[in-house]
Amino acid sequence: MFMKIKLIFILILISFTSFAADGLDENIDPKLYKEIAGQLRCPSCQGMSVLESDANFSVQIKDEVKRQLLQKKEKNEILRFFSERYGIWILRQPPMHGYHLIIWLLPVAFLLLGGGAIIWFFGRSKGGKRDPYESSHMTKEIVNHMKKELNKRRGQRSELRE
């Protein structure tokens, strides 16, 4: 795998010419830049965006983002540019259309249906209104009596030892 990454690096070095990218131009909104660069994946790393990476390919992509921002392009335009150039693989999350919607709808559906099922399950029996003593031999009188006795004992607890 490392060999492959190295190979990619070399290929990129040959096929592109990089230009200096120290700091951001004053005409670029840093928040927008971070938003866009944060949505593009670093092609040679695992799980990182180009923003967090200084691999050569990432620097190329960041420079391209900066250049397009200077041309006053919209966020969506820039993202579309990259996904047309490299495939939607370059986006860190797939666009919200077609079968990709599954990954958004499934969790939401799961949460709603599952949550609903649990509410139904707990509300099914007599709910909050039922008599807590129903299934036991206790009656409210016995319980109150026991509580009173317990409280009496508690008053004397300083004399009791564990």
Binding site: E52, R92, Y99, R157
Partner: protein, 652 residues
């Protein structure tokens, strides 16, 4: 040569496991006690043989015997002794052997010492251990063999992966595999109850201990992985939602849910089938995670087909899944449900089940995010990426829902169908206090722009904290404020209190990510640069020094704030003799409770070495995250020692 003995020991162990598997199931069928005993001893023998094989591998490393291919591949003459030993688990074959070893040790221990109430389950449990061992050992002598011979013997090895030469990476894999291995016990018990058709009294206690043990180890190892990524990879973060991290997080979520269903099962003598299915899923996920990360399927579906390990894992995984599901489907109805149907309405149980469900939903989300790119590539032949932004869309809301669930449920007593008066009063007080505190925080940092989610997060975590304290107050009130009693009789409660405090601190720490700032600065000797209130000053030139097996280029920097020295930091880069093409970051971190200063040496002017580029990150809340993990582990450990929950009649 010696390597062949290791192979032989594993081969012997495999044969014994095959025997043990048949012997244990036959012993039930034939009601033959001595056959059962022989199967049990077979498991102990398998343990001893695996220990022997592992010791041979360690010896091969220490003696630098490069006639063993694995040793040749993952160590070299200049590797320090410590890393020479930890190179044992530097790659697939060795970590497979380590996992096998820990699995069989957990298995042996849990059939050596078990609760007398469980004795009807033990033959089934034994059989399942043997079955797992058969597969592990089969892999260890075929596709994942650490004892392949490499002749003629080379003079030097090719060296250990430089990223793994770090104390954290030395400890992380054994802890993780120990956690994975411990999950075999709940799995085997879960399946055994299905075979046996009932849940004995001791089931809960045995499972509870092993699950908590596994949870503690998983928590610790995931956190260590995070610390490692933070200090070694140099991108300023500790969690990237990459598939390797996700695959260790998935079992953690399920095991966390399992711990809570076990509590419900204890209180209500119900939710048994839920516990069983979570036991099964938890263990399945440990193999699933290894399959994802080690078969190469993540980087490309095609590299998966080339490896022999991937398809084998896939077969084993489907076997485990299908067999468990069939058994569950056929036998689960026999498991008696509870007689006590006292849960309903807006009660503690309701909020706990909701919380569990949220945990499980989080598991589903992470699972979808990890697996969907594979499915998309296989089924739609379209390569897509699902990375941090996807998970981060859901994570805050999941965290908030969990916080709500915890906040309400810690205030309520079990089995009361409605909010008790005192609970409501405390909850309202807690909400008010947290809102007030949030207001204070908001106006304190209102100068900078604050994300709404961040503020919601703070108020919810304060709400949970206030509820926890309120819950503690109610508990203490119930026992007449004898704090000693809490430690005597309710140690598990104390543990849960500490662990949930850990959750609160974790949320607060994670919210720090909203305030993260970073920049790249060029430093020169004698020219201090200011960033985020701190002044960074290069003390002297980049200096190379020779350490063990690498050259360390270090850049001493003084960090000042308001003229006062905050810290001296030396971000560095290492150049290893075994890998001349790449340098590795040794980041410098200076932490206080609220934020870290995190420096990465990027590059320097070569002949003069007096000018260097440094990445500077100010990371708020990182220390809180580590503290949170320590609290969680501490809480788990405290609960583990609750003797009243563990009291069983021991059978040795």
């Amino acid at each position: 040569m010696v390597a062949n003995f290791g192979f032989f020991l594993l081969f012997l162990a495999l044969n014994l496991s095959i025997y043990g598997f048949f012997a244990s199931f036959l012993s039930v069928r034939l009601k033959h006690y001595k056959l059962f005993l022989s199967a049990k001893h077979a498991l102990h023998a398998v343990s001893l043989l695996t220990v022997g094989a592992s010791m041979i591998l360690v010896a091969l490393f220490v003696l630098r015997d490069y006639s063993a291919f694995y040793v040749y591949k993952h160590s070299s003459n200049d590797l320090p002794l410590f890393y020479t030993i930890t190179a044992f688990w530097a790659s697939l074959e060795g970590s497979h052997l380590l996992w096998t070893l820990l699995l069989t040790l957990c298995g042996s221990l849990s059939v050596k010492v078990y609760a007398a109430e469980n004795k009807q389950l033990i033959p089934f449990v034994l059989g399942i251990y043997h079955l797992v061992m058969v597969w592990m050992l089969y892999m260890a002598i075929t596709h994942s063999d650490p004892f392949i011979v490499n002749l003629p013997k080379p003079e030097n090895g090719t060296g250990m992966n430089e990223l793994l030469q770090n104390p954290l990476m030395a400890v992380h894999p054994p802890l993780l595999f120990m956690g994975y291995a411990a999950l075999v016990v709940p799995f085997a018990y879960g399946l055994a109850t299905l075979f046996y058709g009932d849940i004995p009294v001791g089931f809960l206690k045995s499972i509870r201990r092993w699950t908590l043990f596994a949870w503690i180890l998983l928590t610790a190892s995931i956190a260590l992985g995070g610390v490692w990524a933070y200090v070694e990879l140099g991108w300023g973060g500790y969690w990237a939602w990459d598939p390797v991290e996700n695959s260790s997080f998935l079992p953690w979520l399920v095991v966390t849910a399992l711990i809570h269903t076990l509590i419900l099962q204890e209180k209500f003598d119900d939710f048994k089938k839920l516990s069983i299915i979570l036991c099964l899923i938890g263990f399945f996920l440990t193999f699933f995670g290894t399959f994802l990360t080690r078969s190469g399927i993540i980087s490309s579906v095609h590299s998966f087909a080339d490896s022999t390990i991937g398809p084998n894992y896939l077969i084993f995984l489907s076997l485990v899944a299908v067999l468990s599901l069939i058994l569950y489907g056929l036998r689960a109805y026999i498991i008696p449900s509870g007689t006590n149907k006292n849960f309903s309405g807006i009660s503690k149980e309701f909020f706990m089940v909701m919380g569990l469900f949220i945990l499980f939903a989080f598991f589903v989300i992470v699972f979808i995010g990890t697996v969907f790119p594979l499915l998309s590539e296989v089924m739609m032949s379209e390569k897509i990426s699902i990375q941090a932004p996807y998970f981060n869309t859901f994570a805050p809301y999941v965290g908030f829902l969990l916080a709500l669930g915890i906040a309400v449920s810690v205030l309520l007593p079990y089995g009361e169908p409605r909010l008790t008066n005192i609970g409501i009063r405390v909850a309202i007080a807690a909400a008010v206090i947290s809102l007030l505190l949030t207001g204070v925080i908001y106006f304190q940092i209102a100068h900078s722009s604050v994300e709404p989610l961040e503020i919601i997060g703070y108020s919810l975590s304060l709400f949970v904290l206030a509820s926890l304290v309120g819950g503690l107050f109610l508990k203490l009130k119930n026992i007449g404020f004898r704090i000693g009693g809490l430690f005597h009789y309710r140690l598990a409660y104390v543990g849960s209190f500490v662990a949930h405090c850990g959750f609160v601190v974790m949320v607060i720490g994670l919210l720090g990510n909203y305030r993260k700032v970073e920049t790249d600065l060029v430093l020169e000797v004698g020219k201090p640069v200011v960033f985020a209130d701190y002044q960074f000053q290069m003390v002297k030139n980049v200096t190379p020094s020779h350490v063990d097996n690498h050259i360390l280029y270090s850049l001493p920097i003084e960090v000042k704030k308001g003229g006062e020295l905050v810290s001296r930091m030396t971000p560095s880069q290492s150049l290893y003799f075994t890998n001349r093409e790449q340098t590795f970051n040794e980041v410098a971190v200076s932490s206080n409770l609220w934020h870290d200063i995190y420096l990465v040496l990027k590059s320097w002017d070569e002949p003069s070495r007096s000018r260097a580029t440094v990445s500077i990150y100010i990371n708020p809340g990182v220390m809180l995250v580590w503290i949170a993990v320590i609290l969680m582990i501490l809480g788990g450990a405290i609960s583990l020692f609750d003797v009243h929950k563990n009291r069983v009649r021991w059978k040795v």
